[in-house]
Amino acid sequence: MLVTRKAEFSASHCCRAAALSDNENWALFGEESHPSGHGHNFIVEVSVAGEPDPVTGMIIDLKELKEILEREVVEPMDHRFLNHEVEPFGRVIPTTANIALEIWRRLEKQFRPAQCHLARVRLFETPDLYVDVTPPAHA
């Protein structure tokens, strides 16, 4: 069984590869490549898999899941310029795919394996573009 919790963070980013020309960056990233950056209201939906505990009836206490998302994702990323303020985006281009992978890395160790495990990270950059990361979580 899956339980999904949603969180939102607003952040700016800029998608450009330093080794490429302006024209090459435009071809790859379009408007996302403007050097001074721009922002989104990112929405992340985190799904955790497990069986309901026979005593509590819960896979995971939603308060605990909320706290994990706040601590690992929202607090470090909300109202930040990802390229300048959030690791590893000083050296990794903060595309939607890379941000989703980074959220996966930050969250996967947060759950007790006997209880539940991370099953999916879905990151919306806009309502019309989202990335899913599921196991095995490598690119």
Partner: protein, 160 residues
Amino acid sequence: MISVTRRYHFSASHRLHSPHLSDAENALLYGKCNNPFGHGHDYVLELTITGEMNRDTGLLAPVATLDHFVGDKILRLFAYRNINVDVPEFACLVPTTENVARVIGELVCRHWTESFGDLEVRPWKIQIQETDRNGFELLLPVLSVENPSAQRNESVMVHA
């Protein structure tokens, strides 16, 4: 595993009417959707791709390339069109959303390599909302509309 989903919108009209049924049977089966003058929807189409992310760019495929592909191969055919009249695939095919999903899936698969052959990505799923209460998902590839048994999944999932 990583996938990218892009959502598109198109408005189109259609009429559900099977030549294999009588007028009375069509009216009974399709109800309002059998109205002889047709009717329309604001469809929402999602295309999901999966594959290898380019580690240098952090992309599976440039979004603009995906948008151009869907715009040229799909939306250009369907947007602001009467599906029964204007889309050749429906000359002899009832434009239920199941069949619209199949035709779009087949078009995506037929043209994929010419646009994305140099990238290690493949189309994985399409989802169509006819209205926000009716959704249809189809796993790709769809090999042939004429030979539905060749598809990876023969049934279209419908959820309310």
